[in-house]
């Protein structure tokens, strides 16, 4: 079972990297860019074949390691092989 995990900064958390990218885009002529927020994308390949068991594991991984829940949110998609 594959999991696609998206880790993003919570709303209101200052994102200087996103701002730097936005400024670069503006300089390149993409004036219509109003905001850029940068996050992380992870792909985790699990041995588990049942969605329920995989979900429990992925959620735990996200809460403990993959996301810092003080400053980040996470969401995931489980994909059948």
């Amino acid at each position: 079972m594959k999991a696609k995990i998206y880790v993003t900064l919570k709303d209101g958390i200052h994102d200087p990297q996103g701002r730097a990218v936005q400024q670069s885009l503006h300089m390149m002529g993409f004036d219509g860019v109003q905001d850029v927020r940068m996050g992380k994308f992870l792909e985790v390949d699990l041995q588990a074949t049942e969605k329920e068991s995989a979900e429990i594991q992925i959620k735990s991984m996200c809460q403990k390691l993959l996301a810092n829940v003080v400053i980040e949110d996470f969401r995931y998609e489980l994909i059948d092989p």
Partner: protein, 261 residues
């Protein structure tokens, strides 16, 4: 014997343990993660400057038995992969460090050590990338906000220390409720300031909330700070403003800070 064991043994030869020097020395455990690089500076200050016993503890050890205090040194543990300190936080030694802290043991986290303490939940909040995105390597001024702690009892309240910083992720953040609690409980120990002691935004090198450079936990036995006191504890380096922090630790553990410095 693995390469790591060999190297730690060589280091431990240069920093004799209390077995050789007698049991009246304090034993300070310095945790070494893969990527830690300030461990030897810490050991140098503990043993050569403070005259105590420094012990390197590899991150895969599971005991801190015999240690009077623990230091989590600076560096780039696990290359700062994923998030700085996020992987070191799960090293085998950390379970013991957390138990040691929960029992009231003194724990000092410097720079990456502070980041690991945050990830481990031993201190509240988190570190963000520096506001201006640069890795900042310079001397800054910090003001001692609370001199009634095991790490600052040899400082005057409001004392200004000039300490070097070297970090890319020193932008401290916490939610408004926690920030109020830190302020109310005198848990903010160091704030970035100018040389006159004004904690203004222009004196803040990395954008950290409320100019926070170092905090303690509510119990008061765990301190994290971004600046490096171990890099300025001897006059030969031109600056010994870091010395009071180590003297405070010594005083707290021994009852006095008499050393031949």
């Amino acid at each position: 014997m693995g390469l790591v064991d060999k190297r730690l043994n060589v280091w431990n030869e240069h920093f004799p343990s209390s077995k050789e020097l007698g049991h009246d020395l304090l034993n300070i455990g310095i945790i070494v993660f893969p990527g830690s690089n300030c461990d030897r500076d810490c050991a140098h200050v503990v043993s050569k400057v403070m005259g105590q016993s420094a012990h390197f503890i590899w991150h895969q050890e599971t005991s801190v038995k015999g240690m009077d205090a623990i230091v989590l040194p600076g560096g780039f543990s696990y290359g700062d992969y994923l998030r700085t300190g996020s992987i070191a936080r799960f090293s085998p030694i950390m379970e013991t460090v957390i138990e040691f802290a929960n029992r009231g043991g003194l724990v000092l986290g410097i720079c990456n050590g502070f980041q690991i303490l945050l990830e481990a939940g031993l201190l509240p909040g988190a570190m963000l990338r520096n506001k201006d995105l640069s890795f900042i390597c310079e001397e800054v001024y910090v003001r001692v906000e609370n001199s009634d702690t095991p790490f600052t009892n040899q400082c005057q309240p409001g004392q200004i220390l000039k300490l070097p910083i070297a970090h890319a992720d020193g932008n401290y953040y916490t939610d408004p409720v926690t920030l109020s609690a830190l302020q109310a409980n005198a848990q903010i120990i160091f704030r970035y300031c100018d040389e006159d002691g004004n904690a203004m935004s222009t004196a803040n090198p990395n954008g950290s909330l409320d100019n926070i450079a170092g905090i303690r936990n509510s119990q008061g036995n765990v301190l994290g700070l971004m600046p490096h006191p171990e890099r300025c504890a001897e006059m030969i380096l031109g600056n010994q403003d870091g010395l009071p922090i180590f003297k405070s630790l010594l005083t707290s553990l021994k009852g006095n800070a008499s050393v031949s410095v």
